[in-house]
Structures are given as C-alpha cells and as structure tokens.
Symmetry: none
Subunit: 203 residues, 4 copies
DNA sequence: TATGAATGAGACTTCATTCAT
DNA sequence: AATGAATGAAGTCTCATTCAT
C-alpha cells in the first residue's frame, strides 16, 4: 500500500511530466488525477493547490541542481569543466528522466502572479550561480575575461533551447541534438571562453 | 473612424503586449478589449477566435523576421556579421518595441494542441534559417566547421534567454544586459565561430 | 427585453427570497440561476460573487429602512409612536413582501469572515438608531428613563423573533402572530416605556 | 484513556463552541477533530454524521433548559419571577459557559432541510413552554391579560438578541449588556406584564 | 460595424463520509 | 477503538464564444 510519501512523489512526477509537455494551464487536475490513478480530491491531501504542486516540483528540481553543482565544486574541477559538465548533464537528462528534467521547461511556464516570483527565483538562482562560477574562472585566469552576467544568461539559454527541442520532438533533429550537442557545445564553450593566446609578437 | 485594418492592428498590438507580459491563458479577452478600447463582440469581427489573434501576431512577427534576414542577405554581409546582426537586433528591439518583439516571448507560450504546431513552426523556421546560414559560412570558410544544427538552436536560446530577462524585469541586471549584451555576444560569437588559426608549423 | 437594471433586481429579489428561506450556504447559485431563469454565468455579469449578492440585498434593505425611519422623523411623531410604527411595519411587511423583508432574516445568517463585518454593521446601525430614538424620548420625557442600549436590542429581538416565526411557518400561530402581534406589541411597548405615574399620595 | 462518554462530550462541547462562533457550514469536521484532538475517523465512532452532532448538542441544551424550568416550577415561584429568572439566567450564561449556552445561537443556524425540523422544534418547544407559563400567570392574575403567543415569542427574541450580541462581540456595548441587561429587563418585564391598577373610581 | 448580455463547459477547490488497516 | 487516505459530489467562479439588437 503506498505510503504518504510515495503517493506524493507519484503525483509530483506525473504532474511534472504533463506540465512539461502540455503546459500548466492546459493541464487540468483531471489529467493529473487520471495519470496518478487517484481521485481529484485525493490530490488535495498532498498538495494544497495546483500551484503548490508546481512549486513542489520546482523545489525538488532546484534541490537536484544544487546537489549537482555542489558535487562539481567538491571535485575541484576547473571552471570550464564545471560549466561543460552542467550543460552536458542537463542535456543528457532530457529524455532519460522526463519527469525530473523539468526545471528548464517549467521555469518559463505561464504562471499566476503568485507563482511568478517563485518560478523566476529558481531561474535567477541558477543564473547567479553561473555568474559566480564565471567570475571565479576569470579571477583564476582559467577563462577569458568576459561579462559574466551576459554569458551566464547565454549559457542558460543554450541549455533551455536545446533541452526543449529534444523534449518536445522526436525526429531527426532530436537525434542530432541528443547525440552531437554535448560534443559540439563542449568545443564551442572551450573556444568561447578560452584565454586569448598572448600575441606572440605584436606587429 | 478607424479603418478595419487599423482596428485589427490595434488589437494585435495590444494582445501581443499583454500575451507577452502575462501569458496567453492569463489574458482574457476582456483585458484585450479593455486595452484596445473595444467591446468583446467587436474583437470577433476581426478575429475568429483568441487562438486566431495569437496566430496573426506570430505571422506578423515571422514576416518581420523574414524581411529582416532577407535584407541582411541582400547586403551580402559575411555570415558572421549576419548572425551578429540578428542577435544584436533582437536584443535591441526588446523594450523599444514591446508589442512587436514578441516572437521569442510568444514562441514558448503555453498553447492548445491546435496552436502548438503553428507556434513551433515559427521557431523551427528560424532554426532552419540559422542552420542554412551557418552551413553557408562553413562552406565559404568564413566560420569554423561546426554542427550547424546544434549551434543554430544554441544561438536562438541565447537570444531568447536574454530577451526574456530584459523584457520581464527592470533591475540592475536588465541594464547590464541591455547595454552590454550586444558587445559581449558579438565578441563571444566571433571567438566561438572563428576559423581555427592554422597551426603555424605542423609537428 | 430586460434592461441591465431589471435583471439585476430580479437576481437580487430571487436571491433574497431563497437566502431567507433556506439560508445562504444552503442556496447554490444553481438555485438562484434557475429561479431567475438565467444561466449561472450570467449572474456573474451582475454580481462579482455570491457574497456580493448578499451585500447588495442588505444594502437595499438598509436603504429602505433608513427611508422609512427618516420619514417617521420628518412627521415629528412622538417617540413612542415612532417605535411602535417601526415594530408594526416590519411585522406587517413579512409575508407581503417576502423578497424585501429580509433584513431581519439575513442579518443573522452564517457568513464568511468577510461578510460578517458588513452584516453585523447593518444590525448595529439599526440598534444605534433605536438607541438614539430612545434617548431622545427619555430627554423629552415622552418615555420612562431606561437603559436605551438594552431596550434597543430587546426591541430588535422582538421584531426578529416574530418576523422569523411568521416567515418560516404557515400554521395557526402564524395567523395569530400576524393578526394580533401589532396590537399586542403596541400595548406592550406602551406599558413598557410609559412614564411612571406620579404617586398621588404616597402612603 | 477517555471513556466513550467523555470523548463524546468533548466532541459535543468543542463542536458547540465552534458552531456557535463560526456557524454550522463554516465549520468543517477537520476543525472539530483538530480542536478535540481526535482524528476525523474517530468522530464517526461517536456520531453518525455532522448533522447528528448538532442534534446531540441541541438535545443536551434542551434537556438543560427543561431541567432549569422544571426546577423553577418546583420552587413554586410566581410566574413573573419565573420569567424573570429565565431571561436573566440565559443572559448570564453567555460568556461564562460558551460551549453550553448555544441554544439561542444554534437554533437559528442555517440547516439542511432534514435538520430544520429538529432545530425548529427546540425553539417551538421553548415558545410553547413560555406560552403556558404566561397563561398560568394570567389565570392566576399574577400578570396582566395579554396575548400569550405574541409575548412568548417576544421574550424569546429579547433573550436571543441580547445573548447573540454579547456572544459575538467584545466591546463597550457587550459590557453594558452583560451588566445592565438583567436589571433593565427585570424592570421592563415587570412593567410590561404588571396587572393594571384598578380604576379607583370608574368613569 | 458595433455592442455586451447571455451562455455553458470546465476550471479549481472543499468537504462529509467511507473503509482498509 | 482509532486512524487518515481516499473518494466523489457539489460548490463557486472564469472565460471564450454567440447572437439579438
């Protein structure tokens, strides 16, 4: 018999999947209840509102992200490797864990004013994290001096765009992105952020 | 007395602004009617449904984009300059023409299944265009060989991410992005896509 | 074709009748809509919520009451006659204008916290009015000195109790109350509030 | 370990308090369960429905009332003293025993059609009792001839109105009513019901 | 061309009640 | 005896759309 926790997680997973695929407003509680094999009423034992479900999903996603980046830091990888790892990991997760890779898909959902703050905060928190990472890399001269704010949002945009494309389609391009994006982006990022070679011999 | 066309455009502009800001589902026809100083009934003289308004907006946006890129081609700029122009122009439009810069904001709106196809097509059409452009650049040896599909989506993601951030907020970061993103991204793209220097003296 | 105002009044009257009879919480919008021969949705053109309907009813009732007492004052009746008139008129209205005699039936309805304030205020306003009237009577020596606060609430209670009994039943007692309460209460009030006769010749 | 009976009484007391304060429909079983420190399920061991709880409360209140009036009769007080005692005692109980003074507050609660009969019966039973008492007083020439039905409902209304005002508020007026109502009403009732002095000398 | 009252389907949510444990 | 997860009916409310004027 499912424990409280299991049912809650079930609802969250199911909702994450449907929200990601169809959007928040296009997903009725009927659909969530049906997929979770529960009555609509039951959902309200576990979440106090539909908004609350989305918030729980986002909190879980954010926690996962934080664990992941904390782990990267602990391993004391060079900054460029950390960024690479973040990009590659997010892209690889899409499709493998559809219900748990929603952070980039949900963050931009249409939202009530109440939710907006929370959703935006998740995205902003990731941006702040990347910014700090970039600045550290610049200080340590591991990457070239660049505008960390601009580059942070650019990197998030890349992840989001490619993740979304993979998530929502299943065609030839999906395959290309899934298989080739990690290598291409690794190379792109390395060129993008590489320290400029010293001019050997100024004119 | 406004002509049919003017009223139609008015509705479109008003709707583009509100859809962008609040989302498609969070925007009722009442709100559009109020902002356009029209009755709800009148809107149905110009558009056959709410979905239809969104479609019209997207078609207009796509046309604008096509004109813009056609112009770039006509001027026979080098590929890297064309890409640069596309990125910079989109970012500069945000905030200046809120009601006409919606393409990147609307493309990711939650949508009914019916609309989904159309919205995605716009995004895909832009991706296809960038892909072709990149391949041309590679052929002409103006940019380094890269996976044009991956890079195309990456560039769209960058534009989208930064545009969105500028559009929805008005804080210090907004300022940074607005003023510094064009230069930073120009530089980033140039490094990213630059032809690898010939190894001076192969081993 | 009914004007906006007529429909609004229709809803109000219908709702007043049902609320009075069955209570606020036991009355669904379905019932109001059905009795008003309208769709549920339509009701929301005229009232922004179910609470709002109740508020509108109370405001109308209070206005009626105020007109009535203002008229009494204008006619410069002695205080005891005014009180008598108030009591008798309220009792006579019950049954004649079921949809417009709701003030004493609605004031004590179960209510949301939001409504509570408004509902209570109506009742309190009537109490305050009676208090002032009693004090005036005492000053003018038209009625005996008494605690105007206590007596004001007592009079309201009498009206409420008898009105309610008439409203909700239709039996022998209803008839007795309807026909005999005015005379009995007139006499009762006169004894209750009469100036004590001077002891002619104290033993 | 609480005995069945103690738990049952606990539920009843808690429910009486909340029903009185917030109303029947505004009180969920969750609230009762929480206040009684019980699970919702448990409540259904002691009462077969929410309605049943209210009925039990009313039956208890009615029993208390009957005991009280039986005691008055046993003491063979004059009728006017009995009425006085009833009025004063009810008013004094409010605030002292919030959970057991509910009869006048509950009697007018909104109720399902099923409950209506029962609730009304309690009120009617009190009215019948007062009527009989008044008629006895008239027969015994202890009080003036009056319409016992009308006066019975009037007295109930007075008690109800003042009790309610005390129960739901806590302001200056609450204090006035609590402290001065017993004396004022005692005096009022005595004047109201006093035997008319014999005309000394006809004509 | 323009209006806005009217509609009805469907949204989210609450809650008394049941029942397996 | 006690629990609380699960249910499903009913509640209030929103909104795109229609249509008589």
């Amino acid at each position: 018999m499912p424990l409280r926790t299991e049912t809650r997680e079930k609802i969250q997973s199911v909702a994450a999947e449907i929200f990601s695929k169809r959007g928040f407003h296009n997903t009725g509680l009927r659909a969530i209840a049906a997929d979770a094999r529960l009555s609509i009423g039951s959902i309200y034992h576990y979440f106090k509102s539909k908004d609350d479900i989305l918030l729980a999903i986002l909190r879980r996603e954010l926690a996962t992200w934080k664990e992941f980046v904390a782990d990267l830091e602990r391993r004391e990888l060079p900054v460029s490797k950390q960024i690479e790892a973040i990009v590659v990991q997010q892209i690889n997760r899409i499709g493998k864990e559809r219900d748990r890779s929603a952070i980039f898909l949900l963050g931009r959902l249409e939202h009530s004013a109440t939710l907006k703050t929370n959703l935006v905060e998740v995205y902003e928190e990731m941006a702040r994290y990347l910014e700090r990472l970039l600045r550290t890399g610049i200080e340590r001269k591991e990457i070239r001096p660049c505008n960390s704010t601009v580059v942070a949002y650019a990197i998030l945009g890349i992840i989001e765009s490619i993740s979304t494309r993979i998530f929502f389609h299943n065609d030839k391009i999906t395959g290309i992105l899934r298989h080739e994006a990690p290598a291409e982006l690794t190379q792109s990022l390395s060129k993008w952020l590489a320290i400029d070679p010293l001019p050997v011999n100024g004119r």
